[in-house]
Subunit: 346 residues, 2 copies
């Protein structure tokens, strides 16, 4: 089976260079995959030249418009019919591609994913999930920003999605799924968390280990962490921010005297090893789950390596049939009660 991946070439801060170089690297490594780079053809071909030319499994589709991060997503998607992102999504919708990758605005990707590609049956809202480093094995966190103001039954769907992702992409036999809260006890949480807890306890297919505090996430306290898109986004961005701030402070501290500078030079291999462990470009971006096809969102500041890592995640999602397995799991969910916000059957 040969999967075809539509790559929005115009999304990243330095587009299209990282998209083109990353796609070419992936295309050379995984020759069974096929790619369509969607965007400004002239610029794409110029970048491809620098990266040693386009392999035969990479095509280019020319588009004239780009959606920028400062645009209101819904308006931008409606107005720019020839935007690289919109056209790439259309390829997926029309069956000309199996999956979509973009390093552009999350908001626009959620809109394009929902309207252009469409939600999976039984899933009410998409969730953005991402792998984060810990001192143990990585953790998969969702939702990190697609759906703020979630409802309990949506978080249940997120838990199902996270569980299947962890099985298929992380290769875990029985992922520990936890609910983000402000305390580990069952009665801790805001109204949403308290209403969701008993619903997750009843999910037979998922190994729910209870609430997790944000403090325990970097220590590997769970394999999958489920959250509303607002606090989930806060967790992800605090993670990134504190790590970056500490690396910056460490650099300043280590170069504060000649002696510490010598020490830093000697310690460099160790420090590099640590920095690599906490480097998000190793982990390949986020997956927008709950749609009819796999959609990968890479960081706006992605380099070619990060795009290639995103494609690697996409490959695993396609080969592991994450979408098919998720559809099976959703079909087995107990019938939901009507939309009564915050109620639990427990």
């Amino acid at each position: 089976m040969s999967f075809r991946i539509a790559v929005d070439a115009m999304g990243s801060d330095a587009a299209p260079a990282p998209e083109v170089a990353g796609t070419i690297a992936a295309a050379r490594e995984w020759t069974s995959l096929r790619f369509v780079l969607v965007g400004d053809e002239q610029r794409i071909r110029a970048e491809a030249q620098k990266a040693g030319g386009l392999p035969s499994n990479v095509e280019v589709m020319h588009t004239t418009e780009v959606i920028t991060p400062d645009e209101e997503p819904t308006k931008a998607v409606r107005a720019k019919k020839d935007a690289s992102l919109t056209v790439a999504a259309r390829l997926v919708k029309e069956g000309q591609a199996d999956a979509l990758l973009s390093a552009g605005s999350t908001g626009a990707l959620v809109v394009v994913g929902t309207l252009g590609i469409g939600r999976m049956k039984g899933i009410d809202r998409p969730a953005l999930g991402t792998i984060m480093p810990t001192v143990e094995q990585p953790v998969f966190m969702l939702d990190v920003g697609a759906t703020p103001d979630a409802r309990p039954e949506w978080l249940v769907q997120f838990a199902l999605m996270g569980d299947i992702y962890a099985r298929q992409i992380l290769g875990l036999a029985r992922p520990r799924v936890a609910l983000l809260s402000n305390g580990t006890e069952a009665e801790k949480g805001n109204a949403l968390v308290k209403a969701t807890y008993p619903l997750l306890q009843e999910l037979e297919s998922v190994h729910f280990i209870g609430n997790i505090e944000a403090r325990d996430v970097p220590f590997g306290g769970a394999d999958v962490v489920v959250a509303d898109g607002f606090p989930g986004n806060v967790l992800l961005k605090t993670y990134e921010g504190v790590a970056m701030a500490l690396f910056k402070a460490m650099k300043q501290a280590l170069t504060s005297s000649p002696i510490t500078s010598i020490g830093a030079a000697l310690a460099k291999p160790g420090l590099k090893q640590m920095a690599k462990r906490f480097d998000y470009t190793e982990y390949g971006g986020a997956l927008l789950l709950g749609l009819k096809a796999p959609v990968v969102k890479c960081h706006g500041s992605s380099n070619a390596h990060a795009i290639r890592s995103g494609i690697r995640v996409m490959k695993l999602a396609l080969e592991g049939d994450v979408i098919g397995r998720l559809a099976d799991a959703v079909a087995k969910l107990p019938a939901q009660k009507p939309k009564d916000k915050g109620d639990s059957p427990g």
Copy 2:
């Protein structure tokens, strides 16, 4: 003026040792302050012996019960009339003490503060505020867990409280007050943030600089960050967790080979300087704001130094008349509309 501070001596994980040693250190340093250590008298006196004896400005009040972190706060506070925390709060309520410090459960402190000490006029809910280190000057963040599921008008009150804290305790002339969101643009956020934004824009006494992303907090993007208690708690605990995890990973990485170990030894002064900058014990715990008296909550894992830092914050709050100034600011608030959740006059 001689302020008298009631210290719950039984709250911390290692109680009463840190409370007793920290209070004695503070009492020796600031001889104009007076203290009451509330708890098991025999154990308190034993610890005081180790710390060189009780100074004349420290008294002991014997109690027989302790509220533990795993108890349901409201039940525990109601049931244990002779708990150290309950009795310490009663001293404040009855005018025998001016302020309360505890390193026990946050939940119990919020209940005791609200029921035992009472809310300030014009404040609907208390907020827990804490100083966090950044690569620039520290930031004051509230609410970090007292009030999840906040309403827009409560966040406005939190902004007022944070502003006054930053002026009186951090000594800032015009603190930059920001609202925690999942994007910097005015239209980003969950429903609560979107409804709160225009209300903060209308606050004349506060220098509102708009939304802040969690990623920018560790870089000093604001002096005061206002949030609902749930995402605020997630931010604080992610902060702590990632910093601890990175220090742990750094230690492992630096001792991974003989060469990096030598480097680490030489770099130690620099690394220590950085660790100190990100050490919460320097910052003296959290302030429970919105009550009729200052209430300081120290970390459960506090050592004597952290308790002493908490008392330092308390001293600044008392001397800066944070409570009086806050009452003035609240009195100047525009009249609120009735409790219509999420509505903004803008």
